[in-house]
């Protein structure tokens, strides 16, 4: 029985997983606290995590209907993420493991996103290419088997979700505006104007979203207020198209290069309707299998951390006592 904790960004999460069966997954979003700052303030996130983590754990344990004595593994995201936020989750998880006399499993956040695909209702079996796109990260990873992965491409600047949120903001939508941008774009013409796709060269699997964002900024400045507001839906659709096209092109290209027939999505951006629709088309055309987990498993959650912990060696007492958190860098199991 695994109790998992995830606090790498602005959601406080705990989940209980029993041998692949998800018994509880609790997510306490902090969106309302950060919205007034127009972005995530790391210090605010850390403070909220500390307030919320114990009630969230309590809710997960009681929803799962397990007694503390039944937990034999405690897992936590140890990175990458906001360091202060991670520290709250790791300190809590280690102390819970110590109190319950359970083993501890440090989990990489990206591996968590990948492992969301091993959960019910339709567990997926690698090999696969996974596109992980959220407000905090954008990577294409190759997963040859459960418990291992290689990064094939990553963003060199902004994350895809960050690019969508910032574009939304330039168009006058409130933070976090990615979802609103998506619905605004649905009514617009994606070919109204062309925004650039970063690092658009054959074989290049990395992303860059700073160019498209800057292009939108100067486009709006040049267009003037009236044009910008009368063609807002068209501009939103064109902007979104550029971001989404980069994700699709490079994901398909990774599948071709690495000769992989399955593609799966992870991260909050997988909720984007344009991405889902067009990626499905592209996969069908090439006879690739596409898997998109349910939305609650795509955004940050602890169920995916528990799922990853199933396929990682646990660290027993007293070895785990000294484990820390890391903001970035390579994963050392």
């Amino acid at each position: 029985m695994i109790l998992a904790i995830e606090t790498s960004c602005d959601d406080t999460c705990a989940a209980v997983l029993d041998d692949g069966k998800l018994l509880a997954s609790v997510v306490s979003s902090q969106d309302e606290f950060h919205a007034r700052y127009g972005g995530i303030v790391p210090e605010v996130a850390s403070r909220r995590h500390l307030e919320l983590i114990n009630p969230v754990i309590e809710a997960a344990l009681s929803e799962a209907g397990v007694r503390p004595g039944q937990i034999d593994r405690v897992a936590a995201t140890t990175g990458p993420g906001l360091i202060g936020a991670l520290m709250v989750g790791v300190a809590t998880a280690k102390a819970v493991a110590y109190a319950f006399k359970a083993d501890f499993v440090p989990v990489d956040h990206l591996e968590g996103h990948i492992a969301a695909n091993y959960l019910p209702p339709e567990p997926l079996e690698p090999p696969m290419i996974c596109l992980i796109a959220s407000g905090g990260h954008t990577s294409i990873v190759h997963v040859p088997e459960r418990g291992s992965f290689e990064i094939a491409g990553r963003t060199l600047d902004d994350a895809a979700g960050e690019a969508l949120d910032k574009g939304a903001r330039l168009l006058g939508l409130d933070y976090p505006g990615g979802a609103e941008l998506d619905s605004l774009a649905a009514a617009g013409d994606p070919d109204f104007t062309a925004f650039p796709i970063g690092l658009d060269r054959p074989g290049n699997l990395d992303f860059s979203f700073s160019g498209v964002k800057t292009a939108l900024y100067y486009y709006l400045r040049k267009a003037g207020e009236q044009q910008a507001s009368s063609r807002k839906a068209d501009i939103a659709a064109s902007y979104q198209k550029a971001v989404v096209s980069a994700l699709i092109k490079k994901t398909i290209s990774a599948a071709v290069q690495l000769d992989c027939r399955q593609i799966c999505l992870a991260g909050g951006v997988s909720a984007n309707s344009e991405l889902r629709r067009r990626l499905k088309q592209e996969c069908d055309r090439r006879d690739l299998r596409l898997r998109i987990p349910p939305p609650q498993l795509c955004t940050d959650n602890a169920a995916m951390i528990a799922s990853a912990a199933r396929f990682r060696p646990a660290i027993g007492y007293p070895g785990y006592l000294i484990i820390g958190a890391r903001a970035s860098g390579a994963f050392v199991p």
């Binding site: 972005g39 403070r47 307030e51 360091i83 102390a95």
Partner: protein, 241 residues
């Protein structure tokens, strides 16, 4: 009654086990910024040396600062998780009060002197609070200050003309500035500049019951608001682009 107490408000990690009459053990570690890596191993050592386990504790006491935010969060998160998992009562206590208790000389009968524990707040500021002593304890005589050292001295001088004895890592960081009337810092080598967890230990007879709601109130005393301008993630580059 056996209590575990720890403080992570400063770069010195301090842990104590026992009660006010019988100290079973005490560990102090130069932790720097590595509280997360060092706290639980030290707790484990202390309990192990005393032949105890965490499940045998009657009370957990944690220093709630003020002090460095991430250090405090490691201490408070660890304390809350231990308390919740073991259903052991939890108490949060001021790190400034612990410093003051260490400085107080209850035997001397010098009730004239005031105590000023000072903790480094970084960014050129310190946290501090005035305390007076009675026969057995220290009592807060002001609110908590968060000031630049010079401003703090001015405020203290305006409040009182009684002698003020000062200690803490905030004094050590700005020693020359603080050596000025009415403030009299303890000598730099004095061990009482450190927050010691022994000053959180309860009286041997104390009885507190565990309450899952009470533990939610145990949070760091941040004093300073989050600095939103500098840290908004979405504004980290350029014109906010």
């Amino acid at each position: 009654m056996q209590a575990l107490a720890f403080d992570t408000a400063t770069e010195d990690l301090s842990i104590a086990l026992g009660n006010r009459q019988e100290l079973l053990g005490e560990i102090s570690v130069k932790a720097g910024r590595s509280h997360l890596e060092l706290l639980l191993p030290a707790i484990n050592d202390l309990l192990g040396n005393a032949g105890m386990t965490a499940a045998g504790l009657d009370l957990i006491c944690v220093g709630t600062g003020p002090g460095t935010f991430s250090g405090l969060r490691v201490g408070v998160a660890t304390a809350r998780a231990l308390s919740q998992s073991l259903e052991t009562p939890l108490q949060g206590q001021s790190s400034l009060a612990a410093l003051a208790r260490g400085m107080a000389d209850f035997a001397s009968g010098n009730r004239e002197e005031l105590l000023l524990p000072v903790i480094d707040a970084r960014r050129g500021q310190v946290f501090a609070q005035l305390y007076r002593t009675d026969a057995a304890s220290v009592l807060a005589a002001s609110g908590v200050f968060c000031e630049a050292p010079q401003d703090l001295i001015g405020k203290i001088a305006a409040l009182t003309d009684r002698p003020v004895r000062a200690a803490g890592n905030g004094i050590l960081s700005y020693f020359a500035l603080f050596d000025k009337k009415p403030v009299q810092p303890l000598p730099a080598a004095d061990l009482r500049h450190r927050v010691r967890a022994v000053y959180y230990l309860p009286a041997p007879g104390l009885k507190i019951k565990y309450d899952s709601h009470d533990l939610l109130d145990v949070l760091p005393a941040y004093i300073r608001e989050p600095d939103a301008d500098k840290t908004v993630l979405l504004r980290k580059k350029g014109i906010w682009l």
